[in-house]
């Protein structure tokens, strides 16, 4: 057992969140989007760029790194930065690493951001630009197997075959999240849908329909990480980072069971770090690149038994008035796709109590999760707590 070097739990906090508008064509560079979101988050926290000594992001070669954003905002003496390669699976790892840097004293105020023109410039998968360069691509792309909706549909069917998960379960999740988005002024898709609308939406890659898939979004989102002590002196209610955990995952070519994710292995470590369990979570923002992604994570994070994610969602458990409100902002399916950071920011809003019409009354503990490790063998998650 390694010596415990750092008392991490609740040592750091998120002091502010910031957004650009979510659109389908921002008309500006990812550098511009990043700067706008960083400044918005600082403004929310009651800080200025002069207070910043760290910047962090994740990207897949499609956005502005801290080494561009820093100088663009006149920040030429950052004491810490992180340019994490990776997709949504590392989104929460970025904030976790920023919290570690702050807890260790390498920096005091780190802004974590993700800026993305995922509709107008760099679309994910093989449909908008060349297929991504990974040695595993050679075994998939020649067969026309190139894009995330295909890969997730493949795993979703494996879950359907093993556990009897149904299209109606996926559909109920999409309907529930759209209902949440209807109460979110930021959301791109706010018109309510029905299960019939879901079932009538066109096939993308069976078993996935259009309404199983997240939006492709232009936009940026940022959160300010600082010490819990400093956050208490700022003008927003601080949201403590109680736990941050990292996990492995499966490769496209090697997996023992495609119906289970790396979250199952990560979750016990995450909960132990926070000293909490799934029963303590008041609201969960769960990575929803596709409907199935939420259903499998509800199981793997321990909110229901393995294989019961579909019926759990169909029971209404994840609705705003259910026992575990999930993706209260509408998620990537209906708010917009900012690669994980907008899930963290929504969790912060819920815990501060400023989520407006979609506020979960009295929310004290939130789980926010990353892509659960299907496409890149990595995942990450945070537990946040109202101070």
């Amino acid at each position: 057992m390694a010596k415990r070097l750092l008392d991490f739990r609740d040592a750091t906090a998120i002091a502010g969140v910031g957004y650009t508008p979510f659109t389908r064509d921002s008309g500006v560079s990812t550098l511009t989007l990043a700067c706008r979101a960083v400044l918005a988050a600082l403004d929310d926290a009651g800080l200025t760029a002069d207070d910043v000594d760290g910047l962090a992001t994740h990207r897949v070669g499609d956005s502005a790194p801290p080494t561009l954003v820093g100088p663009a905002l006149g920040l030429t003496d950052l004491s810490w930065h992180l340019d994490q390669f990776g997709g949504g699976s590392v989104s929460h790892a970025v904030v976790g690493q920023a919290a570690l840097a702050v807890a260790a004293g390498l920096a005091e105020t780190v802004v974590c951001y993700r800026a993305i023109n995922a509709r107008s410039e760099f679309r994910m998968g093989g449909t908008g630009r060349g297929v991504p360069a990974s040695p595993e691509v050679q075994y998939q792309a020649p067969y026309g197997y190139v894009a995330p909706p295909q890969q997730y549909a493949m795993y979703a069917r494996a879950h359907m075959l093993k556990y009897g998960t149904k299209a109606e379960h996926f559909g109920q999740l999409a309907v529930t999240q759209r209902a949440n988005a209807a109460k979110n002024p930021r959301a791109l898709m706010r018109t309510p849908i029905t299960l019939d609308d879901y079932l009538a939406s066109r096939w993308i890659a069976e078993p996935f329909r259009l309404l199983d898939c997240c939006l492709e979004t232009d936009g940026a989102c940022a959160v300010v990480v600082t010490t819990a002590e400093r956050a208490r002196s700022l003008h927003r209610p601080p949201v403590l980072i109680s736990a941050a955990a990292w996990g492995g995952g499966t490769s496209h070519l090697s997996c023992e069971d495609p119906a289970v994710t790396a979250a199952a292995e990560l979750a016990p470590r995450l909960y132990a770090q926070a000293g909490l369990g799934p029963g303590d979570v008041d609201v969960a923002e769960i990575y929803d690149c596709f409907t199935y992604s939420v259903i499998v994570q509800l199981e793997d994070y321990g909110f229901c038994a393995k294989g019961e994610g579909g019926p759990y969602v169909a029971s209404g458990a994840t609705a705003l008035d259910g026992p575990l409100p999930v993706n209260t902002h509408g998620g990537f399916l209906s708010e917009g796709y900012v690669h994980g950071v907008n899930h963290i920011a929504e969790a912060v809003s819920q815990l501060r109590g400023d989520a407006g019409d979609r506020q979960v009354p009295g929310a004290e503990v939130a789980l926010s999760t990353a892509q659960p490790g299907y496409i890149l063998p990595a995942t990450s998650a945070l537990i946040l707590r109202r101070a």
């Binding site: 449909t127 020649p142 067969y143 026309g144 890659a205």
Partner: protein, 132 residues
Amino acid sequence: MVVYRPEPDRDSREWWERIARHEFAVQCCDACGTTRFPARAFCPACRTEAWHWQEVDPEGRVESWIVNHQPFMPGAREPYVVVMVRLAAVPGCVVYGNWHGRRPPEPGERVRASYSRIDESLSLVNWEPVDG
């Protein structure tokens, strides 16, 4: 004609050369005998670097499949099916290919490789049912 021609790397080149001759081989660890795919330097079970190619029956079972309606592959006849096949010879390993059955795949059914010759240096590995 292939839209996305595979780009072999230094680990995988010989595997593709064998596939072009319709030989289905995987790596086998010299120390512990564990088979592995795709080609990598080290045995993930015992971390030994020494290995040899081992020809295996190109067979497996259908673990999942998708039916593609979106034009993910320009020019493909749609809808086209991609299957996920668990290789019989390499536990823990799944591979992908197009479905060459006359009917839809069935869960767990036995399948074997159906080679598609593109040109003299490239064949692709697709999958067809063992039981018609």
